[in-house]
Amino acid sequence: MSRVHDMGGRFGDGPVIPEPEDAPVFHKDWHARALAVTLAAGALGKWNIDTSRHARECVGNTDYARFSYYEKWIAALTDLLVATDLVSRDDLRASNPDQQPLSDKAMTADKVAAVLGKGGPADRDSDIPARFVAGDTVLTRRPADNRLVDGGHTRLPAYAAGARGRVLMLHGSHVLPDSNAHGLGEAPEPLYAVVFPAAELWAAPEHPGDEVVLDLWQSYLEPA
């Protein structure tokens, strides 16, 4: 810890610049192509959403900071395509591989509505019983590191490590990103919404009543 993507609570990023409600969905044509090519390549089934998030986190700190949003997507997609042998480094250098027939795994236009409509639900049956109920006080683990892979993907932000919160609700059992991102299996376990008083997270909260809620897996939590 920590990676450059873990931004919650960081200082120094300046104002948020709102956009009109009717601003274009994609500000540039290449933004739209970047999103679409990422979804289409993902539909080949060679990686999961946790792998792809982890790939974006691993584009390199300098690149992560300087890249715009869809540049990160394209960089991570390129890295994943090479890591899964769908594309070679020579393909990238030449940009001119031989034309091949469309793979039967490729998402064709007629399949797009079904693929997007089906989505990728993350809830699963699990043998791990829920350890907490709504109202329980819990402590998040600290440091906020992946415990399966050193330096690996996790969804516990650093700002919420070692914090005391209260379980709001159980969402059921969900795929554990810390495992699934690294090809170690889905390892589903109970997932909770946990609420933290702002004063538990920040030295100078804006208001005594303010709170932050995070969705946290059972293995991120200990009883308090």
């Binding site: 679409a36 700190n61 793979s103 989505g119 932000p157």
Partner: protein, 214 residues
């Protein structure tokens, strides 16, 4: 930066350069190169890309979420069904889909204002609100929404009374949160369709309020 310099950028955790450094550094050219490579290798159908873009430019967007909010304002039974299993309600309305597989609705009251962020990436309820606006994906929003939500709200022109607390939802899992904003005064007797026109995208993220009818 030229592609040549880009290729020689150091990286912290690998013994060779990142594959992405092999593509042109200009982002539009980079995307074009990748699309061309994938198309030539038979892995991507360009017509499918057009279809994806058309979906999110023209069909799946904040109108879906606004319909949900307007129904919630209008129908106690609908609100109750959302509280029990909002995902099931989305299935029935045809608003289930990618990045909207697990939906929870959080309803603003005079005492609690809800606001949604993803500090780790850019998780957002696509099936209800479409593709997130640029500011939602910005470093500034991701870093500040959890620490200083009221200053962020002020940048959107929203000032909450001191008796209202803010609950910020950091979308760290696959649960996607839809904010149900407060129903504006002066909307008694309006139809679901009329009410939906008052529901802005920002009000369903929690960085705005619903419009007051003119």
């Amino acid at each position: 930066m030229s592609p040549r310099q880009d290729r020689h950028m150091p990286h912290d955790h690998s013994d060779h350069e990142h594959a992405h450094a092999l593509l042109p550094s200009d982002p539009a050219l980079r995307v074009k190169a990748l699309e061309t490579i994938l198309t030539r290798k038979g892995l991507v159908d360009p017509a499918a890309l057009d279809e994806v873009i058309d979906t999110y430019e023209n069909r799946v967007g904040p109108k879906n979420g606004a319909d949900v909010v307007a129904r919630a304002w209008s129908d106690e039974g609908f609100r109750a069904a959302l509280a029990v299993d909002a995902t099931e309600v989305m299935r029935e309305l045809g608003y289930y889909g990618r990045q909207g597989e697990h939906i929870v609705c959080t309803e603003c009251t005079p005492s609690v204002h809800h606001m949604v962020v993803c500090t780790l990436c850019s998780c957002y309820p696509w099936s209800l609100l479409g593709i997130p606006p640029g500011w939602y994906k910005s470093d500034a929003y991701r870093s500040r929404a959890v620490r200083e939500p009221r200053k962020v709200l002020a940048e959107f022109g929203v000032a909450l009374p001191p008796e209202t607390s803010v609950r910020v939802w950091d979308s760290t899992a696959e649960i996607r949160y839809l904010v149900i904003p407060l129903r504006p005064a002066g909307t008694e007797g309006m139809s679901v369709e009329e009410l939906a026109k008052l529901v802005t995208r920002d009000s369903m993220i929690g960085t705005g309020l619903a419009r007051v009818p003119e």
